[in-house]
């Protein structure tokens, strides 16, 4: 190896080193600690270190705990699908129908709710969806319903709170994909006799799929790990996995169980990543 090559390698390493140190310090080491704690066990109120799989076995054997994972997956699945279905047309309208000079303003308006606190937004939804909230009062005022709908403190409320947030995120990722698309694709399809629907189905949608999947994956990751929204809007009538993890920490002081459940949550996210990897283009976000 020549001295030039050596110098180049050192330079390259120097460039990469800060990122490596960052990942090591803030991901690899904490993850290793969490993995080690997850195979410890509680004896009374003390943590006994060792290699025990008790926490993992208990998680899958205890219906109350395992159900938390299923609830998280159900809510996350619903939120992701609904958000995509709402965000795609919104992004389409902004990218294709809104004049270029107004697009920046339209995007800003679309993401305006990002500027408010997550907790405040959730409590605001609670007041909107409550028995005496805006929705029920409006529906009853119009004579459409006789008694208030039970929306607050339900899974529906959690899903609405989540969708409100993630539609904004997905709109951005899908818009960034749509805006890069040359209008010549649609023109070429039309020249070849394709209908508007066929053009969308066979040309536009496949080309924008990376943006959709990237946004959907980010929605999945952020939604399945969220604790605040179901805690405030769900009324504690069912517990998601992050809520159960918080229970282990705040109430039981059971760090091994909380660590095991966090590892399981990470495993689910990793599986989701591999399922989406083919289409993921995180650099386009």
């Amino acid at each position: 190896m020549t001295s030039i090559q050596t110098t180049e390698r050192r330079k390259a390493f120097a460039f990469v080193a800060p990122a490596l140190v960052w990942v090591l310090a803030f991901f690899v080491v904490p993850f290793a600690v969490m993995a080690a704690v997850s195979v410890s066990r509680m004896e009374g109120r003390d943590i006994v270190h060792g290699f025990f799989l008790d926490n993992y076995i208990r998680f899958f054997a205890d219906p109350s705990l395992f159900k938390g994972l299923l609830i998280s997956l159900e809510i996350t699945g619903m939120v992701t699908v609904i958000s995509v279905l709402l965000a795609y047309p919104l992004a389409w309208i902004i990218a294709m129908q809104v004049p270029a000079r107004w697009q920046r303003l339209a995007l800003m308006l679309a993401v305006l709710p990002f500027w408010t606190s997550y907790v405040v937004r959730s409590y605001a939804w609670l007041l909107v969806l409550g028995q005496n909230g805006v929705i029920n009062k409006a529906l009853m005022g119009m004579g459409l319903i006789a008694a208030p709908l039970e929306i607050a403190s339900t899974r529906t409320a959690s899903v609405i709170g989540f969708v409100h947030f993630f539609v904004m995120l997905l709109t951005l990722t899908i818009y960034s994909n749509l805006i890069q698309l040359s209008p010549n694709y649609a023109r070429a399809a039309a020249d070849l006799g394709a209908s508007a629907f066929s053009t969308f189905r066979h040309v536009i949608l496949p080309l924008t799929l990376p943006g959709v999947v990237t946004g959907a994956f980010l929605t999945f990751v952020l939604c399945i790990g969220d604790y605040i929204t179901p805690q405030i809007l769900g009324g504690n009538n069912e517990l998601t996995l992050p809520q159960l993890i918080m229970l282990q920490l705040g109430r039981r002081g059971d760090f091994p169980m909380a660590s095991a459940m966090s590892i399981i949550l990470m495993a689910v996210v990793t599986l989701a990543y591999f399922a989406c990897a083919r289409w993921l283009k995180l650099d386009r976000v």
């Binding site: 409590y123 005496n132 109430r251």
Partner: protein, 348 residues
Amino acid sequence: MTKTLPALTLLAAGLAQTAGAEEINALVWCDHADPALIEPFEMATGITVNLKEYEGTAAGLAILEQSQPGDWDVMVIDGVDVGRAVDAGLLAELPADKLATADFFPELVMPEVNTRDGKTYAVTEKFGYNTIAYDKTKVDPADMEDMAKITSGKYDGRIAIYDYYMPVLGLMQVASGGKTAEMTADSLAALKAPLMALKAASKSVGDVVSSQTALATGEVDILIGGGEWLTAVLASENANLDWTIPTQGAVRWSQSLAVLAGSTKQDAALQFVNYITGPEGQARLATSSCYWGMPANKKAGDVLTADQKTILRWDNQPDYLARSQLYPVPDAALDTAMQDLWTEMLQN
């Protein structure tokens, strides 16, 4: 020069004052974070109190575990968990003869909680009841005097449960005619059916803020596990919120104040304890902007206003104290069993 000298003198005086100022670090609940409580102590003694709020004994003990001895000087702790902290060697012995316990309601001295082998490790500072809170314009107040009527079906879907397993399971035990002190992991099985029935009749299970919001906004009309600590702070805005102790009884909560064994400022910490448990400190703590509660020290009654005493039901205390039972004091096995049952209820 004439201008510089006074400025330097002032600076030197300021530095001297800073160097001499004493500070204590306190792990507290949100009621201690009210400036109206802390500032008079700081002004009177020159001792700065650095506060860190926490919720739940497990979280408080975790903070201590991650700290160095001496990092914290005083700690507010759930009365039933004092023994746990003593077992862990975290608390310093307090000089019993220098505490104001002689002025306390006798039931609130609680030696079974605050002392071990004749040594005092904590002192009760505030108490109240986990019972029934309700909106008196939406329910029949007479029904609220009987737990059986509340869960009879008449109020289904209009009930919220306070999300803390200890008082609510204690309340279920009291409602079934049992004693909280006699709860065991085995006897807990008998509470499962009524607890699940209560959940089925309820609309939500929430923490303090969620429960308050649900009751204040009319989302629910009854809160199981609520009490003066939840409704009193809203009294000025919503006079319809009320609370009572049903005929079956209720659970009494208490919080204690302790000095930590590792503290290097034992004298300043004790001064703080004595301020909080003295009449003025007690009155301010009882009416803290975070939540209200009865003061353990009877002499706080001389400081509280008539309106404040009405909201706290000062005159009813002899009856309420007689009809309420202490929180269950679970060992590790019972605590685990209670939390398992609670988690099952939440997921049901």
